[in-house]
Symmetry: C2
Subunit: 281 residues, 2 copies
Amino acid sequence: MVLIFVGLGVWDEKDISLRGLEAVRNADIVFAEFYTSPLAGRRIERMEKIYGRKIIVLKREDIEENDFILEHAKEKNVVLLSAGDPMIATTHVDLMLRAVENGIKTEIIHASSVYSAVAGACGLQIYKFGRSATVSPPFRDVISEVPYETVIENRKRGLHTLLFLDINMSIGYALNLLEEIERRRMSSEMDAEMDDELVKSGDRNEDDCDMRAGGMIGGISDVLFVGIARVGASDQVVKADYIDALRTYDFGDPPHILVAVGNLHFMEKEALIKLADAPLL
Amino acid sequence: MVLIFVGLGVWDEKDISLRGLEAVRNADIVFAEFYTSPLAGRRIERMEKIYGRKIIVLKREDIEENDFILEHAKEKNVVLLSAGDPMIATTHVDLMLRAVENGIKTEIIHASSVYSAVAGACGLQIYKFGRSATVSPPFRDVISEVPYETVIENRKRGLHTLLFLDINMSIGYALNLLEEIERRRMSSEMDAEMDDELVKSGDRNEDDCDMRAGGMIGGISDVLFVGIARVGASDQVVKADYIDALRTYDFGDPPHILVAVGNLHFMEKEALIKLADAPLL
């Protein structure tokens, strides 16, 4: 019959659209998944009460490893609920493509997404965001440099960067990781430069190395960040500051997200001061 | 009292969230504006019927040139409805900042936005989009080169580009504009190079100029585009192709939007073939 991907929007059970609610109420069976994007302010019981339907929460393997949903969708009208705008998760794109291969009709019902909501919450202009990236926890002491590089590359073009944090990761922890990436890159650059020096001059010049390290300032500590906690909630927190101040700021519960700010239009500046209590820029 | 910016989402009156509907129903007065973003599938009468409230549609001057809304918001609970996610329009950020200056509480109720909806409709990964741009009609024969430059710059980094089209502009017209920009840039580059040649060699070498022009191929005609009409509507059209084929494709009524495709992940390739009928890539 049909498989409808219904977005639940940014925060809680009230961020679904009227169109989404209608689809839920008309469906033969209603599934939901919260492993690609967290529950945030949602509670299954409240969703079931407001939507008037029983909701079956699926595990990763029910979506990625078997055709559980597709088997249902061959004979029934199936809704799959997920947080945010549903097609942001590649898992859902993959499921949709498998549905198409199986001759099952599909539909997307859009909802609010952190992608547009975060820009609005900070008063930053969305067309000035470059590509986004995710800050992931270290794996066996390896830290992905992608978020750091994305920030630096976007800033060279004056662009803002949206940084997603791993589920339950705090803004403070993410900022520490970004700083640690920079520290490691600096020390490996310094090592390389010192090796060059040794080859050239035949002795090691500590002063020179210090000067070069000093020359690296202009890195992450010069970046204005905006931390946003619980986007779209009534207790949403938006605070702009530099890394040293922001690291210890109390944002409360996750989900947390970060924006690394690029060049600012005068209205963006004013917005960051008035909406995000930014230090005078 | 309070000024609440309520997003209406991507397509019609059913794309508002339950939270947005609740705010509309609890407001003392409900305004709407459709000059920053079009009505799309919405009809005021249907909105009034479904939301159960009278809606007052404002003109640009009521929002940008006077304090009409703020005067109301000092004493009443005011809702301002607009298409998409409300803070995407800088006009609304400006209004919010003026409200804050006047000591008026503000609130944002998010909704679906073309920013995330378009990526999902094509099956493209949103984190691979670079900055976006708008294609505007020529003004006194001057065509803004920004959208063209944005596509080229993003493509150098393998990134996709979302191109907004001016209200009522068709995909075919926008593609012609992009091609015209390239043509003008090529001919001015050729002129500059010919001048160089004249200085260096003392005579004009047409063959050389032709070869250089040939060397420019690898421009816009090599870019895969996705055209999307009426995002989020039941008659939404999504079609991927190169400029020559896409230019004459019948997308039906506006709003239209374009994506210039960068490097493709294998799942994105599959999605463009299956969801956007892309030529085999």
